[in-house]
Symmetry: C2
Subunit: 111 residues, 2 copies
């Protein structure tokens, strides 16, 4: 599978791009500004390097994140949202605004 | 754990409520109108009854979905979004609108 086609319907397309909770949390970090890999990892306790790498690659492949390698010693690699990725700010804001209207749950009615 | 407290920050709170891709797809179905359990299951090929039940219970517990049991023969149980749940329409619309601006991926540059 070389082509990386997305579902054509908007909601499944979104779910494919922001796959799982970590993807959304990575975007939330990047909305605060560019990050190095280790900075992202440190900002997201519990994420595995594998998950972080795979999400960043998917984002890069779809033009959501730009990866820049600076030829410095030691080398520095930085990830930042593209203008397309910055468009996720509106989505995360809408998610957060709605979630804050939801009350904490009733205590479970089970034994 | 009887209390069902949600994270206080908006984005993690959202992710906890809409946990995984199925949750979002269930909401998408319910935004089209009330559904019986079997109708939801049939509309979401691949979902397990366990996942569908657990998501619906979480939604119910947080007042996002209303479950109504009609005393008919055979008994009928219907799930519908509450006004709070209807608030997710704006979120899913924003997700979809953004996702449709994302191009399909570049062919993977690997061998």
């Amino acid at each position: 599978m070389t082509a990386d086609r997305l579902p054509e319907c908007g909601v499944p397309r979104f779910i494919t791009l922001l796959d799982g909770p970590w993807a959304t949390l990575i975007v939330r970090e990047l909305l605060r500004g560019p990050h190095r890999f280790t900075e992202l990892r440190d900002a997201l306790p519990g994420i595995s390097p594998h998950t972080l790498t795979s999400r960043l690659r998917l984002f890069e492949r779809h033009g959501i994140v730009l990866r820049t390698a600076y030829s410095e010693i030691p080398p520095r690699v930085e990830y930042r949202l593209t203008p397309l990725g910055e468009g996720l700010r509106a989505v995360l804001d809408t998610m957060a605004a709605w979630a804050l209207t939801v009350p904490d749950g009733e205590p479970a009615a089970t034994a």
